[in-house]
């Protein structure tokens, strides 16, 4: 049913349509509205049988999901930011055990300094955790990716994070087509675990594994993600047959035909980028967009194929590998090894810094002119940075960095945006 609703609420309804049997909830902004809505759906008896468990931490949330999934229940949780870090040990454990848990990550920056706003640092910190990571561009896609995620996760017996931009998507009211139960049931069969704790056929799960077998176990996790590269487009195609819309897949090109410059990004910022590109195209610029939906597995071949005919690309990412530069950019550069393409990295939107069309226009034009440095920090306030650097040079006890910057910037509540 088409409705105007909040992203979090839409996702909660989509999760409920997937008939999860165990939901673990620990609140963290901006994930809260998702688990609140699910809590109400379960408590009202709309979703049954389902156990909704209010746990004491994210570490427990993932651990309860591990136990439930190992016992054969379709298991779901959601988190963000510090919560994802707090459960990190269990995140790796879930994928190591091959448990098909689906988790929403309402993407948010990682502190310190504490910051509740959106960027992709949280999911990307778990890049190598063995979880698949799918990034939604819109709330409709967030809804659709969750349904596809359960199918893919359970097919491969590997966990998936569905990543949606915190606040920008989770708290946005927009139109979303919530599928019918019959559609979801037709797409997503009941969970048939590959391994299950069952007194009728006892197995040990999670035994000590020595050097004689560990590498094979690890390789097989990699092999499953390689399988996913094949399955993700197929599952998106099947999804289209039943639900009637394009959603998911590995990546999505926009206006890339004849483009000399291609902008690569993940998540909701693709919308602003597309609007900018439309305006530039209207002015005759040969520019296009490549949205990456599947960050893990990373579709190296497909990214290469999508970029091969351009001259240069900009990876605009809401994440930063401190001491190195871009995180997504590293993967994209890996994909185009040997092609001679010029690549630029733009770090943007950290901690919720708005990414505006005006700034993108400027950035993309500089990229076209090839005057960009290899790594750009979009809309960085150099005055504030230089002031702090001067302060540190001048005095040993220069004080806490974040508080100094805040002091320099003045009262924030007088501004908005």
């Amino acid at each position: 049913m088409l409705k105007q609703t909040e992203g979090s609420k839409a996702v909660a309804e989509a999760i409920a349509l997937c008939r999860p049997e165990v939901i673990c909830a620990y609140p963290i902004s901006p994930q809260t509205h998702i688990v609140e809505a699910l809590g109400e759906i379960v408590k009202s008896g709309e979703l049954t049988p389902c156990e909704f468990i209010n746990v004491e931490s994210e570490f427990a949330a993932m651990s309860v999901a591990i136990g439930a999934s190992a016992a054969g229940a379709r298991s779901y949780t959601a988190t963000a930011s510090q919560g994802l870090l707090f459960m990190a040990e269990a995140v790796y454990n879930a994928s190591g055990l091959g448990l098909p848990i689906v988790m929403t990550v309402a993407n948010r920056a990682i502190g310190a300094p504490i910051n509740i706003w959106n960027d992709h640092s949280d999911s990307l910190s778990q890049r190598d955790s063995g979880w698949m990571q799918l990034f939604a561009e819109t709330n409709q896609e967030a809804v659709d990716l969750h349904i596809q995620a359960f199918r893919l996760a359970e097919e491969l017996s590997m966990p998936i994070m569905v990543c949606m931009d915190g606040f920008i998507l989770t708290h946005a009211f927009e139109r979303v087509d919530i599928p019918e139960q019959a559609q979801v049931d037709a797409y997503l069969p009941p969970f048939e675990p590959r391994q299950v704790l069952d007194p009728a056929a006892p197995v040990s799960i999670g035994a000590m594994v020595g050097p004689e077998a560990f590498m094979e176990v690890r390789y097989l996790a990699h092999a499953k993600q390689m399988q996913a590269i094949e399955r993700i487009p197929q599952l998106a195609a099947e999804f289209k047959e039943i639900f009637g819309r394009d959603s998911g897949g590995l990546l999505r090109s926009y206006c890339t035909e004849g483009a000399d410059t291609i902008i690569i990004a993940m998540g909701s910022v693709l919308g602003t980028i597309k609007d900018t590109v439309d305006e530039m195209r209207a002015e005759g610029h040969k520019i296009g967009v490549l949205g990456i939906i599947s960050y893990r597995p990373f579709p190296l071949e497909q990214v290469k194929a999508a970029l091969i005919n351009c001259r240069r690309f900009v990876v605009l990412e809401k994440s930063l590998a401190v001491g190195m530069g871009g995180i997504v950019a590293t993967d994209v550069r890996m994909a185009v090894t040997g092609t001679g393409l010029k690549g630029y990295t733009a770090i943007a939107g950290l901690g919720g810094r708005p990414i505006t069309k005006a700034s993108l226009h400027k950035l993309f034009r500089e990229a076209e002119a090839e005057t960009l440095p290899p790594v750009t920090f979009l809309d960085l306030d150099w005055i504030a940075v230089d002031k702090q650097l001067a302060r540190e040079k001048h005095t040993r006890r220069s004080g806490p960095v974040a508080e100094n910057i805040l002091h320099d910037k003045g009262i924030v509540s007088a501004k908005f945006g």
Binding site: G271, A414, G417
Partner: protein
């Protein structure tokens, strides 16, 4: 695309106002996108919410820096925040106050603009009268419908019925209707004054 910025304080239903506005637009078959200014603001703190309305899919995710309309739920914000920042030359302003724009010392703001697009509405009083609570958001939405013509009163009422039920819905509808009429009346007066 028509872009609206709502200013108010935590507890005044600022985010709800933007969301209901998007629902009203959706009810008219249009695309709409509402989103808050994403703070962890407590009751009483300045809050901003945004709403975009368009006939096409809305992809833009930046905050609204050049609004077509500004709704101000709390006049005390005038001394604290540049609520009018970026207002388009032909933009609309609806302010929650029982004083006129002139009495609030905002004549300069209107200078060179279309005066009938600047209205005030005693929305808190309307909220108290019809709902028993000093929540100005719904009357302001209806007032905004009258002021801008971007959405119909009927759509605001649909949005009210989607969010509330029973007595509260009825009270909100009564408040909305009166607000709509008051703003229409005020616009007529302003247009007449201009004609004189």
């Amino acid at each position: 695309m028509f872009q609206i910025r709502v200013h108010g304080r935590g507890g005044q239903g600022v985010v709800t106002a933007a969301e209901m506005l998007s629902v009203a637009a959706f009810e008219e078959g249009r695309h709409a996108q509402a989103f808050p200014s994403f703070g962890s603001e407590r009751t009483g703190a300045p809050v901003v919410a945004f709403c975009r309305i368009s006939d096409k899919e809305i992809r833009l995710r930046e905050p609204i820096m050049e609004p077509d309309a500004i709704i101000i739920q709390d006049p005390t914000l005038l001394h604290q925040i540049d609520v009018f920042a970026g207002l388009k030359p032909d933009g609309y302003v609806l302010l929650n106050s029982h004083h006129s724009i002139e009495a609030l010392g905002l004549a300069e703001l209107v200078h060179g603009r279309q005066a009938e697009r600047f209205c005030t509405l005693p929305a808190t009083e309307l909220g108290l009268k019809h709902i028993g609570r000093p929540i100005p958001n719904v009357p302001l939405l209806a007032g905004f419908a009258a002021l801008s013509g971007i959405i119909h009163l009927e759509s605001v009422i649909l949005a009210i019925n989607e969010r509330f039920s029973g007595k509260i819905a009825a009270g909100n509808i009564a408040a909305a209707t009166e607000a709509y009429e008051q703003v229409q009346q005020q616009m007529k007066e302003l247009a007449n004054a201009k004609a004189d």
